[in-house]
Amino acid sequence: MMSLNVRPVLSALFRNRTGAILVALEIAIALAVMVNAAWIIAQRIQQMERPAGFDVRDTFAIGVAALTSRSDLGAAQREDLAYLRSLPGVIAAAATSSVPLSGYGQGGSISQRPGPRAPSVDERSMQVDESALAALGIRVIAGRAFSATDIQPLSHDIFAGAPAALITQSLARKLFPDGNALGKPIYGGDNNTPMTVVGITNDFMGSVWGSPSYYTVLYPQTPGSFGDYFCLVRTQPGKTEALMRTAQRHLAISNPDRVVIVAQTLEYYHRRLAAENRAVVIFLTLVTALILSVTCLGIFGLTTFNVSTRTRQIGTMRAVGARKRDVVAHFLIENAIVLAIGGLAGCTLALGVGYWLSDQYQLPRLDLRYLAFGLVTLAVIGQLAAWQPARRAAAIPPSVATRTV
């Protein structure tokens, strides 16, 4: 039965080829866009869902900078921390040189061998005191945390190493792929002074510029070498905003030797990290959905037009014995052929676009399962769009064939 139907379908299709070609073209573009957009969306969602690794809620950061290069940041820091810890509702307060996810911070490269030629890994570093882990809610999963005696005094040497360091799990695995990093020396800064890995923390994102990274190093050193420091304050749930405002007001005037440059919750920075990705995801989804609906309208329009211009032929078909479902099948097969041609062209286009995207924008190569899924989706939606006009065609009575208008 099927094979009998195809010939008249093909000849009908051939008579109105312009319309069919246009719709096939739409289908091809829609498929290429849909598949690649879905692929990009999947990457972005994966990026957005990467955990920050520290307690994003209930923590805020206050950044302070020296008014002049003569300001005594060490003394200011002790005073600020004592004040912050005295506030009711504050659980922990720590001083650091960098704020995770904020863009305030330092980075460098770290190596497992000394010397300028040793292969190295780019990292984000933080000078911290012994309370930083508690303020950020970071866990030590091997070895030990810093104690108060580990913390080196403030130094104006911005490359000064410390005798000890804490590194994240990912960085430990990267630097020492085949073994335990604990207790081993690592080299950063001037590349010659060894630092001992005393502990390994869970993965957490350091300060960002570019893409977020889990390669983070913590140094036990009083921050301030860069002319500024940050207080990270963990509060009881729900009190973060209010305590931040109080602290900001107090610190702004308590010491004329330094200036508050920023006060912000870590939750804000975390939201900001996802904002750009979220906007891209929204735009891609919206435009893809619109392209799909416009394409469906195109299919619907083409079938409707075909039905309305072929009323007499349909009547004749019916008069010579075609059943209603044969008429429906006729139009659906016709549509399926257009879909197949468009789909085939779309596959080529989708692969081309995917290749171009990965080449131009360093995106991972398109996963072929997305292409298969896109094809099936488009086929189903495309047939549904032709369904209604095809049913209307089936409703044309055989008597139409005998009428003239």
């Binding site: 290069s69 200036v259 939201r271």
Partner: protein
Amino acid sequence: MLAYYLRLAATSFRRTPGLTALMVCAIALGIGACIVTLTVYHAMSGNPIWWKNNVLYAVTMDSWDPAQPFDTDRPALAPPQLTYRDATYLMTSSIPKHKAIMTQLLGMLSGAPGQRAPVPVMTRATTGDFFPMFAVPFQFGGGWDAAADRGPQPVIVLSHAENEKLFGGIDSVGRTILWNGRQFRIVGVLADWEPVPRFYDVVNNPFAGPEDAYVPFNWGPALQELPAGPSSGWGSQPVQSYQDFINDEDVWIEMWVELPTAASRARMLAFMNSYWAAQRKDGRFQRPLNNHLTNVGDWLQVNHVVNDDNSILLRLAFAFLAVCLINTVGILLAKFLRRSSVTGLLRALGASRGQVFCQHLVEVAVIATLGAAVGLLLGVIGLKAVEALYTAASAMDAGSTNYVALTHFDPIGIGWALGLAVLSTVAAGLYPAWAIGRLPPSRYLKSQ
């Protein structure tokens, strides 16, 4: 005749209001999406000093680690900044018409009348040529001279916005203010100046807007202020002090020169190359010769100022517009063909092919104009939505992107988008209008 065609078009729209609305909506959506992405893209990829594009050059020299390139992903590139040693040496050249070195410092402004607490301001530490070279407009006063650079003399230039904040917008030239606890004399106040992107500094966020204060470059070393923006080193030697920092191979200074002629460009490059050769003998510059003078447009491109997302979204919007237009061609073709008996009658009564063509083209043009108008409206709404989406996310954040400037509805970009819209829709209507005019009238008069 035109009025008659317009009347015919109106009749046609009344007969199929749904189909007409559908076409207008599809075109409008396509154009709206294009306007949003084009505006942001246009702003990002703009060259705010295009009229000096071929005379302004960023100076780069590859002083980086012999063992590995500055950017391992793009090993051919020299670092975008210079070391202190190289920048100060290149500044001794008299070849450029203007020359400036610069970096970003964090400054604390205090001591303005009625000011209670010091305010942090991003400060550009630069040399006097910065202002004439980049054609920076002044509201009051002006920049400073070479003597102020050498001193350095305590002179400062404030942005329009900062002068509004601290002095209520009055002419504050001649007054003193404390910058990082030191007395500085205000010599100039800028007029409203917002180069998008901030082409002269792409190392920091190029969409963050210009700095609020400007001081002579030498104040950085004199007060041992570390740059607020990125500085990169490769650990060529231990850095124990500020002196070590500025003597080391750390790159942290941007340098721009104005070279009006090809001859002066060649001389400048030769000057850089001979310096490179001399320094190489002393053991520096062990990487291959990679000295560059890059004009503004290339500089923005090389440094990837337009982010990838925006160019992907721009192309997506164009793909969408293409689908919308193809759809319109299909609908128009079907619509015209269905009306072919009327057209046949007109032809039989003496309408020429050209007249039938014109009549249909007028109908298409009306749809295109309606679509473009609605699309413009959608585009404006879309831009507001993008602005809201981003601004909410980056509020109160110093150094963050100024999305208001990026989503600014600029007339040139919009003109382009609209022209494109009307043109492409009319082009889409050409084929159906032509196809219908080509039909022999007899065929459509015979039956039905």
